[in-house]
């Protein structure tokens, strides 16, 4: 079984590029050149330099002593929360802004849900002096005021998506429409392993630095380059794709994907795409998505704004349907509990997205000697208001 993308942009039956003809030249160009640009020595040199000096990589692989004791297993945390801007998102935006420069693009657009990808995009645009427009659902703009302010502080223009449900999927629609209207000078930096081919593979490759580092760090700490399990939360799935990447073809490594069950899988307020989704097309990609019987895309729910995407990247859809990945869904309540646990046991306040991944330990036992890596995808500063309200802090 092949878990990486094939030559036509598919992961098994999922993926492809279901795009209007207006986007064809841009997407076809990316398909043609992305691998060769990413492999150029100059690109790699600049990318690695920025990841080291600007983002602060490698991020630590930290053995979580007290958490390990509590769950009677060996837990390592991959500290993506320590990246500049507070999450793994910046690995992708650094790579894509360099790609945009290679393509001679003068203007960047992006979509954002909670605002993390928007901030990471605004950051690299400021760094490179390139104009930046971020589309964000009008509802999310209300909910995530601090991140809107950060983007503006960084010089980005934030445009509200006022159609449809006014959240992430509509922001993505608006970004795609912008690209249709500006085909010549604009590059679209997608924030996750979603969208038409080559985006899922492009973003996965840029995030693969996460598992590349885990391999080296585990060799130093455990004397072998792989864990027994890698756990990551999945909205679109970019941090997960990065954490799994170098282990996809290593059957000795268990892959655990954690989705947001919201108020419960069958509550009608959930974002557990693998459990509730069916194959269909969203944002140019054939994948699992939440939809009505009539094929209308529905609005998911999670307490975490980064996990409420109605689809999932095609790589993950394939990991699910092939059985390579173990998919677990975690409710709001269990995630919040796990977030508080980590704060009190290890002194690390995680993003609520990440808290979903941490909640797996309550649901599923691991053996004492097993090595489990959790990708700590982001820090909880942005979620402080939600934590405050939830726990009456």
């Amino acid at each position: 079984m092949q878990y990486h993308v094939d030559e036509h942009g598919y992961y098994g039956e999922f993926g492809g590029a279901f795009i209007p003809e207006m986007l064809y030249p841009n997407v076809a160009q990316l398909q043609k050149v992305y691998k060769s640009i990413l492999q150029q020595p100059e690109f790699q040199k600049e990318f690695k330099q920025l990841l080291a000096d600007y983002v602060g990589r490698p991020t630590p692989l930290y053995y979580a002593n007290r958490l390990s004791e509590k769950y009677n297993t060996r837990i390592y945390l991959k500290r993506e929360d320590l990246c500049h801007t507070g999450a793994h998102k910046v690995n992708n935006t650094i790579g894509q802004i360099l790609l945009a420069k290679h393509l001679g693009k003068k203007r960047i657009i992006a979509e954002t849900g909670a605002g993390q990808h928007g901030v990471a995009t605004a950051t690299v645009c400021a760094l490179m002096g390139i104009a930046c427009v971020v589309y964000m659902g009008a509802v999310d703009i209300e909910r995530q005021a601090p991140n809107v302010a950060r983007m503006k502080m960084l010089g980005a223009t934030v445009i509200p998506a006022t159609c449809g449900s006014k959240t992430l999927k509509d922001a993505t629609n608006e970004a795609i429409r912008d690209w249709i209207n500006h085909p010549e000078d604009t590059h679209y930096i997608i924030g996750s392993v979603v969208g038409p081919h080559p985006y899922p593979d492009l973003v996965a490759r840029l995030q693969s630095v996460i598992s590349e580092e885990i391999k080296k760090q585990l060799t130093d700490k455990e004397g072998r380059d792989y864990p027994d399990y890698v756990i990551a939360c999945v909205g679109g799935g970019s941090n997960a794709a990065g954490a799994y990447y170098h282990y996809l073809d290593r059957p000795e490594v268990g892959i655990i994907a954690v989705e947001a069950a919201g108020k419960g899988i069958h509550s009608g307020e959930s974002a557990a795409t693998s459990a509730l989704g069916t194959p269909g097309i969203i944002h140019g990609s054939k994948t699992l998505l939440m939809q009505t019987r009539d094929g209308q895309i529905t609005e998911p729910y999670s307490i975490s704004a980064g996990l409420d995407y109605p689809g999932v990247g095609p790589m993950h859809a394939h990991l699910y349907s092939s059985g390579r990945g173990e998919f677990i869904s975690i409710t709001d309540a269990d995630a919040m509990e796990a977030g508080r646990d980590l704060s009190r046991l290890e002194g690390i306040i995680p993003a609520i997205e990440t808290s979903h991944a941490l909640a797996v330990f309550k649901q599923r036992p691991f053996k004492k000697e097993e090595v489990v890596v959790v990708n700590l995808s982001g820090r909880g500063d942005k979620d402080l208001n939600t934590y405050i309200e939830y726990f009456n802090l």
């Binding site: 492809g16 003809e21 085909p183 097309i281």
Partner: protein, 254 residues
């Protein structure tokens, strides 16, 4: 012979009108189609509403959202189109995004189209390669014409490829934009349309996107066989209802 081909034999510029099914009211579809034919439309594009219409601007998206709110589904649309051929004889083209068709089942969808008398399909997010590899035989088995879009950014080689794959006509998108752009046609646009016309393709050319009045219709069809009016009609429908159709069509031909 497919009636799309027949309509291009008329010695005039073809007016095709786009209307979102189930808009402004769920039950309006059939009456609007009949009224459009009565008032001089040569062809109709029936839009199957979708929650996330990527290639459309705000006007058509809002009409889709409204139609879905009204309760429109693929199944209901096919029910509404049962017997439509007794009332409407001009070519009917179904325009929709691919996901609802995929959920309905592509074979079943095409069979239903044939049954109610649909002549062709426009599916903006079904790319040429996917169509040819997976669906072309199903479309052909149901006598459905597939109409592809080309844009100012499409290379000549690809335009020729799309022309080979299309039947009925080639949909020429007038500018790099989503639907519903207002304003007059630029010199560049006219040059581009002439460039496509000069390729001497096997299909007639219909221009769409940004055609909203008699002036833009005239310019769009200077070098082509016809044009498609969508957002402007939807706006008119929203403001004046179905009784506004005669005045809309009259202004268009003036």
């Amino acid at each position: 012979m497919n009636s799309i081909d027949t309509s291009f034999r008329k010695n005039k510029k073809i007016v095709s009108i786009y209307v979102t099914a189930g808009f402004p009211n769920l039950e309006d579809t059939a009456d609007i189609l009949a009224s459009l034919e009565e008032n001089g439309a040569d062809m109709i594009e029936i839009g199957l509403p979708f929650s996330d219409p990527l290639a459309d601007g705000p006007t058509i998206q809002e009409s889709s959202t409204q139609a879905l709110k009204n309760g429109m589904t693929t199944e209901i649309l096919f029910e509404q189109l049962q017997g439509i051929r007794k009332k409407v004889s001009i070519p009917l083209i179904l325009m929709g995004y691919f996901n609802p068709m995929l959920q309905f089942g592509v074979e079943e969808f095409c069979a239903k189209c044939k049954e109610v008398g649909i002549d062709g399909l426009i599916i903006p997010d079904l790319p040429l390669r996917e169509y040819q590899h997976h669906y072309e035989s199903i479309f052909k088995a149901n006598d459905l014409y597939m109409i592809f879009l080309v844009t100012p950014q499409t290379s000549e080689a690809r335009i020729r490829e799309m022309d080979q794959a299309s039947n009925g006509f080639l949909y020429v998108v007038s500018s790099a934009s989503t639907t519903g752009k207002t304003g007059s046609f630029s010199e560049d646009q006219t040059t581009y349309l002439q460039r496509v016309a000069d390729l001497k393709l096997r299909n007639p050319l219909m221009v769409g996107f940004g055609i909203h009045d008699a002036e833009t219709f005239r310019k769009a069809t200077q070098h082509t066989q016809g044009a498609i009016i969508g957002s402007a009609f939807i706006k008119h429908l929203k403001n004046h209802g179905a009784q506004g159709i005669p005045s809309f069509m009259k202004h268009l031909r003036s």
